[in-house]
Symmetry: C2
Subunit: 260 residues, 2 copies
Amino acid sequence: MEGCEVVILGSGNVATHLARAIDKIYHVVQVYSPTESHAASLANSLRDCNYTDRIEDIYTDADIYIISVSDDSIKSVITSMPEVRGIVAHTSGSVGIETFTGHMKHAGVFYPLQTFSKDADVDIREVPFFLEASDDDTLHSLESLARGLSEKVYHADSKQRQILHIAAVFACNFFNHLLDVSTEILAEKGYSLDVLKPLIYVTAAKALDSGAYDAQTGPAVRGDLNTIYKHLEALEADRKDIYRLISQSIIDRHKIHKKI
Amino acid sequence: MEGCEVVILGSGNVATHLARAIDKIYHVVQVYSPTESHAASLANSLRDCNYTDRIEDIYTDADIYIISVSDDSIKSVITSMPEVRGIVAHTSGSVGIETFTGHMKHAGVFYPLQTFSKDADVDIREVPFFLEASDDDTLHSLESLARGLSEKVYHADSKQRQILHIAAVFACNFFNHLLDVSTEILAEKGYSLDVLKPLIYVTAAKALDSGAYDAQTGPAVRGDLNTIYKHLEALEADRKDIYRLISQSIIDRHKIHKKI
């Protein structure tokens, strides 16, 4: 696979990070984007790579085609691509593999579980990749590519990707909202979220090292209803509801047998 | 204050981390712990430091006394200490300064907002210290000490410490519980929380860098009720309640005008 040729369809954050990483192990021969300047800019940052803004002009003889566009555009890229020799994979966590049915024989999902920003450097070796494919040979090819990029390669069908998404909603989207609530609470007394920075990172590190169940601290897991009631008194609206519900959930999870 | 003499009362995680940090800028002359071996072990890790397990034997002529024991034991340490020349401060976030009233003239609170583990190294310069004192001279002395240890020194009275505590419950204790929920959800499909590690750290970093409000992502802030309903269908019991409540809270916070 050393001389393996790859075409990247897309020029956004995911496409950019993937193209640059893939270019270190395979040969990215072409970038397609409907916006020519975007295609050119990404292609020119790679070793020896052409670009096009016309999807009918993409090379048809490459080994792997990575479609890294917005979820809504995947289908139209698939249907407007010319017939190609190689395998075709999209990078979305929420679009099923059946989107390829009737269009490509060798297709797959090549899903990196990370948010990519244009500027921020990402250590791609730490990014988990979740793969699914139409057949064993295609899975094998996508696996070789993923293992060349990252140390963390997993299989995931649609149901498993849904579970990953739900878990990410709790651990990332909801976590962020808790940080938003904290920011507002702190602002009332003139503090910035920065004062919690060391605590937040230690909380994440401990949960990842020793397991979140064992790492639980705070008034709820101590069964300290006294403190919980004082905090509830100081809170309003949905903050109060969130505080009560999560505290009770911690109490129940740790079998404290108390009711707020 | 270069030759300032400090006595540490306590030998737990906070006492140990503080004693070692203080020993680099002032002179920790004595460690007290009711368990002699603990007092000896901490004192022997310092430059030139005695120890005692008898509270009546603590030096009475030091400049600063740091009481770093469990919340429940602070009062009894205060009442059984001999009269001392220097100022006395405890390190608890949840015990008020009035615990000193009638016992010490120059007293204060010297509260580091971090969880300390015996083994884990902590960059004390990053730890925020929150100070309160009975009088301006005492506050000034505690401030000099804190600024010698950390770049982040703040004032906080009891009300402010309560707000810090509530914010920490949201951003750390509740965050940890979300990680616990995620761990369980992932385990059902054979994944470990590790697969979310890069996402979790990027979420924390983005919220701290650009503000959690602007950093919010996920189905709720997109108003994607379709995905939210699918996720709710896949969830049970209090996980479902937490998902619904926090999603609605995000929707309301971002003025999406939708109802789950």
